[in-house]
Point group: D3
Chain length 300, copies 6
């Protein structure tokens, strides 16, 4: 099988040659930011919005990528084109831009950012069955970094806080997804994305202050608006999760993944709940393909 | 000039070939830990203690490096040997072990940790003059990650929190070193190491709960003990820094760096203060070379 | 005088025989939940909503009452019927369901929940005069349990936190009602219920996140809606209480009790304020009897 | 088998008749306090110290038990005598004094405290095997009530906070014991008692500010002193637990129970660790019987 | 040049004689409150609203000024009339009411409040150039007093917290204006007033809970309403400031001052941004004079 | 009766002429610091230590008093001499240095600090009876300013936070003294000074981090050392106050004032407790006069 192509510092290279120096600041102090999109039928979804968020993060952490947002978009699209012919039947890609402050090898100040754009097939099999069964959400002990230490809206690679939460959840149940509490005890997010509950017909999620303002999160709020389902961005606590009628996780790859249990306790409705289904259906319509069917088609 | 040798996943390679795949979890989610030592006259100082701390961190983040602590020590010492002939006159190296959870390229669970050991000459010129002038410490707005989100005693590469603090300090004064407050407003540490004040003859520093329990920090406490200088590990606030008689920063490379100003305000004593000098002298004696002279010798 | 009947674990028993074993987990570790309603003219008000809240609490604390919500409703109504003939003229009852995790006497895991339903005449004389004079609210030092320790929306019997606040308030003034601050310094609630202020014509109360989402609280918000009085659920501080035009407390028995003083300071309007009166009048209309007159009729 | 005798409000009654009115404030608002001792060979251990702590709690929550501490001691000892002839071979009892503010049945202020003293055989089989295997400690998400809401040193029955933590831990592993974090992320205690780690030969536990100052905790510190093992009362975090050489739990019944795993991670030493064994041996010597052997003798 | 007239405890006196005893509680413990207005063309703007806020503060701190709000208004207006003939061409005044709890000289309880009303020309030259260049906002380390210590809505003279923040900001850049974070890391206010950002066309500022509910702040929200510009009162973090399209500061004297940089980082739009300009234009229209032109006319 | 003399900005003036301009920054924004001593038999006690603390505060708030510490001492002693002949029989003075950043009248930056030194007879009658009866301590709701907003060790005049606490306490009991909790719920201090408890023979007080490191506090710790009474500086909570054997307040004027009640609850020992008496006796010996007798001699 042919290798995918990746983009590293101005060049398109085969996957096996896509590497970064051990002196890169990404590897020494996590001094890098990123954003991730997915393709639908080979086309990158909401690329511009992802890149705008990426550039807001770059602006605040004061990394100059050495490329305009238009150039970043072009290179990303070019990379997608190059890999499209290797796309599996009914397959799709995730795409990540990663920009670090550069190398410190010279024992000088970094002079030039490192820019990596990498693609890989979406691992449908790792989550497809949860569309039916519902995922298991576990609330770990580890708390989300507070804004005053590192703003959750900065999408940096310094994510060990979120990794530790994931390890904790998977120890309870190898299939579990964590949803971290923030430092005041409110539900926030996890390494992959956002968390929603449905209570008495209202789609509710944490306010953007404490969580990454995910593009998928925004898509859910837009789709709910279109469907005339009321939404609320407000502080939620474990009580809201335990007593939800439905719940779902959102991320770039699986879009909206139904939740069946919170800390081992089943929710009121069998997953997927009716409103979760409506959201998934509207999303599928928007991207012109059945999101659930695509994932399912990759199982056995 | 000949290239240094680095160790990457079982092999000794030339510096320019020391690279890590863009799919490594270190690069995607900062899922890696490290420790850094320095050589004195080519010999790695307190290597075993650094490795013991590294293995405590590995244990808690649940990364299996695939090597025993003895093997890690051997490989490090072998690498030091290989690079020793390229050591500059009166030069020394910093040495870093970096272990990530491994690659996620396979779209499977990581199977094998990535182990990198890298060395580079200590950048003496970047700090030598502060031994005389005193460094400028700035207390930034960014707060140190709280223990409940990510324990400061875990030496992970997810250090964007500390990078942001450094950017903030350098904006006030390009030569400044930050010392972050913890979430309760106590002085903690910075990306490089620990902070000490001297008040009425007592050498004081933050307790180990909120800061990396630095090996250099421990060395200071030991040397002060030998010198019969009283020490205290207790919560300190900016008031203690402003009104200190002396202050110094500690890290692996510069050992103990005198501080001259806090937020632009001079301390009571001209740097280096008398107790700071005693500590540096005792340290020099312990390692068998004059730490300050070595650094100064690299400045023209 | 004839004894009231109470319900204990499946049986209707005379009040003097309504007892629980000293080995019940309610008595050893406060491991029980409850809800309380009142009757109006003998009829239990909003019973179903109270029971729904009770079952949400049971779900989260993982106690299985061994009875469906319909059964709980039936038994409650049967108990109310049995006691109705002992109801005093113009009298009414408070009704409490209390469900504990059961007995630990067997030195085994509890096998069966303890279910108690108890009724007693509403103690009108203890508060009737405040409808005219206004109650005295005192803000105690004791803070409301934070959500991350015990969610305020769980109506458990572990209420010593609220008892301590009441003792503190009554020491300032034996007639005082406490309103606790939450851990961030916002006004929350007390052992009996919720607290409202009226500022420039707006009826304001703490958001549901930090307080029990009282059924009386909900009734006030509904009635205000009917009366086209604007309402706000938002963080309130002592400043809002001191400078309120009116204020009132809500609970199941007295519904809405006018407040005259905060920490000894009179409010702008003599109690009861005009909007408080409107709320009480609308509530009386809704239940088909004058709430204030009923209470007053029990005072000589 | 003959029934045990219990003490309820001035009378010695058979266990099956030891009951409390459903109107007791213990059952309505958890307004009661308690203390628990155990017997060794039928004799109550450190009874006076437990009662002194009980009376300190009574003093702060302002409950007058209607009995002097001497009377309470006498009644407890009398009860122990009465039940001693029913004591199983090699068996022992736990003994609990529970004092509530009294009944509210009269719709008046409570007039007289409710005093219950209850005994039951120690459930050795529920923990005996952990002396060998080591217990499994899990750190739950639920945080310990902060001092400003309810002081941990008050031993009240309002313990739902601790019950919830226990449920959470047992969901991870039905045999697990929780150790809660306090609101700042430090290790505190659980519903039964205190937690100790052994690090480099030092026996360490949380300071008394945030935890019940357990009599067993005090006994460990005393015994360590006798054994010339250094001790420290200082803030501990999960890092200290993960990287401990040994750890143990303390409570009235099992005294000191070796810990084998923290959140699924084995400790450095196989349980029971050498210092834990020394503590248990010294304790056994102090009470004149082998604590571990007694517990083991009740298994099969 | 003739001296201005000031009001001190019932008398109109020349500026040089306007003094307060060294025994005044304002000078010993900062036990005084104040409010500040400005004139437009000699007429005091929104005087009544400022005085209503002043009297709310007086009510909560329990100082009786010995004058009704009507009397305070009359005296203020009389003072403004007396000083109007000394008003410079195109000049205007700031006016401050300062009320302390009185003198403690008598070693008795204070008997009578001290009432001072003072006026001085607005120092246009100190800020005029920022209307064009944009002001530089710096986020200092010092945090705003939390509500539970001293409510930000109380306008007291105990403002050392805000003075320290100002000193910190001016050390970074002598021309900088601080905007403090509150204790949770949200943007709050500074010694002079409030802070607004404009994001995607929405005018956003901190909610009134944590900041002085400034009259200028209220004016901005009203003017935006008139201009049909959407507004939001919601928690904002440094991320919102860094990534704002525009930002401005509000205070009584300069009304709305465009911001050009945050911590040295330029905003997206050159100052003044289009919405800031609209606000300033509408404000000018409302007061019948061009606010920016007036300030500019005093430069050179 | 002749007027006392005061010192204002370089001049000794009669008390009635000791005034400060209404434009002083002390009066506009509480931008001033101070320290207070007392005389014993006319001689200022520990003046140098008070001035050293004053100059530490000046250093951190960056006010240059325009006088060296020696000059400040000389002027204070000169003032004490001038007022000594007006000293009442058996009377003594309190002495306060107050330094503000200066006037802002000129609409320029302040150029010169304002220096006031003022003296008045100690108001013995206001507290003498508490030496016998014991004072009543009340723990108010208002929390002490946290270090991150304003360091408690800075003795500034911005003390409204402490004034509010005093008002709150005096509303409970006009004779009460407040002792504020810090933001974490620990006992801290009040507007006048520090708080001590005696528990099992140990004299305990809050650590210096959160409270003004009072000179009287230091004197107590020294005297206890001399008397071989063990002392502890550690976090204390209301539990420690309620269950103390003895307690006392310290301040410059009354030195150590016995406490009889906490929140209306009597302590274990009748005031003054035995250790409190020992401290007062040792203090009297140190200053060469009976502190209690002197105060008592001024009561009728």
């Amino acid at each position: 099988m042919q290798e995918l192509v990746q983009y590293v510092n101005g060049e398109f290279v085969p996957d096996s040659e896509a590497k970064v120096s051990v002196w890169d600041r990404a590897l020494s102090v996590g001094d890098a930011v990123f954003d991730t999109e997915r393709t639908f039928g080979g086309k990158v979804f909401r690329l511009r919005e992802h890149l705008e968020r990426l550039y807001r993060t770059l602006h605040m952490v004061r990394i100059d990528p050495g490329m305009s947002i238009d150039e970043m978009q072009e290179v990303t699209e070019e990379l997608a084109r190059r890999n499209d012919r290797m796309r599996e039947p009914n397959g799709d890609y995730s795409v990540t831009q990663m920009i670090s402050r550069g190398s410190v090898n010279s024992v000088l100040e970094p002079e030039q950012a490192t820019v990596v754009i990498r693609m890989r097939p979406i691992p449908f099999t790792s989550y497809a069955r949860y569309y039916d069964e519902g995922a298991h959400v576990v609330i770990p002990t580890t708390r989300r970094d507070p804004v005053q230490a590192l703003d959750a809206r900065l999408k940096t690679i310094s994510r060990m806080n979120l990794v530790m939460a994931e390890i904790e959840a998977k120890q309870v149940d190898p299939d579990a997804y964590p949803v971290l509490l923030d430092i005041d005890g409110n539900l926030s997010e996890n390494i992959g994305g956002n968390f929603f509950v449905v209570t008495n017909g209202v789609v509710r999620t944490a306010p953007a202050r404490n969580v990454l303002a995910g593009v998928s999160r925004m898509t859910v709020l837009e789709l709910a608006g279109d469907l005339e389902i009321p939404t609320a961005e407000e502080p939620l606590t474990p009580y809201d999760a335990y007593n939800a009628d439905e719940a779902f996780l959102t991320t770039t790859s699986y879009c909206a993944l139904p939740v069946g249990k919170i800390n081992g306790n089943p929710l009121q409705n069998e997953p997927p709940g009716p409103i979760t289904k409506q959201i998934l259906a509207a999303w599928s319509e928007r991207v012109g393909m059945d999101i659930v069917d695509q994932a399912m088609s990759h199982v056995n």
